[in-house]
Symmetry: C2
Subunit: 369 residues, 2 copies
């Protein structure tokens, strides 16, 4: 009954698909750019995800192709589909995770709540938007941004003059949303349509990078959870997303939910599910892209808190960390530490939120220099 | 902080160490006899575990050597230790998992409860023992038996005449214990002495092969659990066991606990812990052999039931199984199905034992032809 999943990209998301693949008896292959990447143990081909030839060769003999990242070009994706490969998520869906302008256009057309936004092609246009929105705005490159890169908060168009110089693509400009906090609604969807949602979580960002996730998001009303679930379900179904989907949301100071970003893959805001949910996002992603029935998504404990390890150390801190926090769940990605780099995460679970937050932070802190 | 664990043997126990190693950021290497074994994804050397040369070469560059099975000869183990390698469990402990006669001698010397036994070198001696124990007895080869192999229930010494022919080693003979059921007490022990015990479980055998495990064992008294824990702790400490230890026990019809077998590695009776315990036996084994502080071992749910998949099928039964039992946890070992072969297991968890048993059995049954 051998099923084979091919993952394009050798980063930590591909790495974290390997344990559930091993448990489920699913063969997993990874197309990585370099030897020694996070998913190295499963790498079966080194190659370039931008090369049609490399990607088509990789896809031979796998039942489905999926992704560690959203950077595979549309022309490569479409060549893959044309070759007869099963690709999940497919190019028509991935487009909206690759291009933030197309995403904003589509969500607006669907009537979904988004920040006020515009597509601007000149400093002058941008200044008009900024002036109309209180003198500050968020400017994003439509493509290629992640973890705070490709995003600037500006009070004048001149501050992104370099981005206009780069190419002719318009930039996305958005109102600077006054938000109380950021939330994330994750789900998985099968090609045949089944959807399973995890509990809504709170995601704490610092400098555009996720540092902590609390599952479930504390103090949410039934109504808020319903809206988040409805928004995410609509996006998944209307955009034809397959596999895991993260819908990052702003909870505004005036009690609205606005869609911030989309990720069509397992996502940092779902890492808590490895230890804290009945089915982890990595197992569920594999099930979803193989069009297998999805697993239950309920939390296994009242609270789970995930803290990223940023930067890290090359020293072995396990003896001290495990002595202090033996029950925390430690996850490292086999990456060399560099300042600010996500090298791992720690999850703690339990009945009392404050104590769980304390334990997760204490455990993670051992691994930061 | 790269730590490297080398596992001798490429079977399913080595395979199931890989997921927690990946999560913990521990490098794992496997010495396997053949390509394509269960732990194939981590195999870094093909070689013979009976060859000092192969094993010494494998041990270079790993922080600790541990095992998928107990068949590495003492002379190889001792050469490994002499080379300066950290070996857990070490040869002095492993001896008692390799040789059932030495095990019976040692446990008897420690005053631990075992069935009445003898070492017999002739059919005549064996007949004397059988006659003195009600006309039937269990005969075991001291070495090499597993899953019911090397074990026969006989009423006359002539029934194992072939075993006397084979070599001059004495056979182990034991009284045929009248037991109510079989239990297993698992623990892990670090070289520095720390011990953590999992809940006592019930192990259901058929034809000498474990088919089902219920965690915790239903209907046990505090006293029974205390005795089981004390026996296993004494064995671990007195024999100097490091890593995971399974103490298989008979609960007799007259309410005694007798030690049946020992296994010094993760064990089938602990597979439930992957999904059902705060720390799985595979993660704990890695922590223990690296002499890292151990994790909590409490059950995550009131009941966990593990059912082995024996024989199996080459067909993909996941669509039907997951549709029927989406919440069960499926584990397959990448093995070709053969009649009676353990190819995987399924674990279910929940509040009501009867229902959990039903779900685990139903899920496993999909994968048997």
């Amino acid at each position: 009954m051998s099923l084979t999943v091919g993952v394009i990209g050798g980063g930590q998301l591909a790495r974290m698909m390997i344990p559930p693949a091993i448990e489920l008896g699913i063969d997993i292959r990874v197309l990585a750019e370099n030897a020694g990447e996070s998913a190295g143990i499963a790498v079966t081909q080194l190659g370039d995800y931008r090369s049609v030839e490399d990607v088509l060769r990789f896809a031979q003999g796998v039942d489905v192709v999926t992704f560690d990242h959203e950077h595979v070009p549309q022309e490569v994706l479409r060549a893959l589909v044309a070759s007869g490969a099963a690709v999940h998520p497919g190019p028509d869906a991935l487009l909206y995770a690759q291009d933030k302008l197309r995403m904003r256009e589509r969500l607006t057309a669907l009537g979904l709540p988004v920040p006020e936004w515009g597509a601007v092609s000149s400093i002058a246009d941008l200044d008009v938007f900024i002036k109309a929105h209180g003198g500050r705005a968020v400017v994003k490159t439509a493509r290629g941004g992640y973890d705070g890169k490709g995003v600037r908060v500006v009070s004048s168009g001149a501050e992104v003059a370099d981005w206009f110089d780069d190419d002719d693509d318009p930039l996305l400009v958005e109102e600077l949303v006054e938000f109380r906090r950021e939330l994330s609604q994750m789900l998985a969807r099968r090609p045949s349509g089944e959807i399973a949602l995890w509990p809504l979580v709170e995601s704490v960002q610092r400098g555009g990078v996720c540092v902590e996730v609390i599952a479930p998001a504390p103090g949410t009303s039934d109504r808020l959870r319903e809206v988040a679930a409805e928004v995410a379900t609509t996006i998944a179904a209307e955009l034809g997303v397959t596999g895991a989907l993260a819908v990052e949301l702003f909870e505004t100071t005036d009690d609205r939910l606005l869609v911030n970003e989309l990720a069509m893959r397992p996502h940092n805001s779902g890492h808590w599910s490895i230890d804290g949910a009945a089915t982890s996002q990595f197992e569920q992603h594999l099930r979803a892209v193989l069009d297998l029935p999805l697993g239950p998504t309920a939390a296994r404990e009242p609270w789970s808190v995930m803290v990223n390890v940023l930067g890290g150390t090359s020293k072995n801190r396990y003896p001290a960390a495990l002595a202090d926090q033996p029950g925390a769940k430690y996850h490292f990605y086999g990456k060399e530490p560099r300042p600010g780099r996500k090298v791992g995460h720690v999850t703690a679970g339990g009945d009392e939120l404050e104590e769980v937050v304390f334990r997760a932070r204490a455990a993670a802190a051992f691994f930061e220099d």
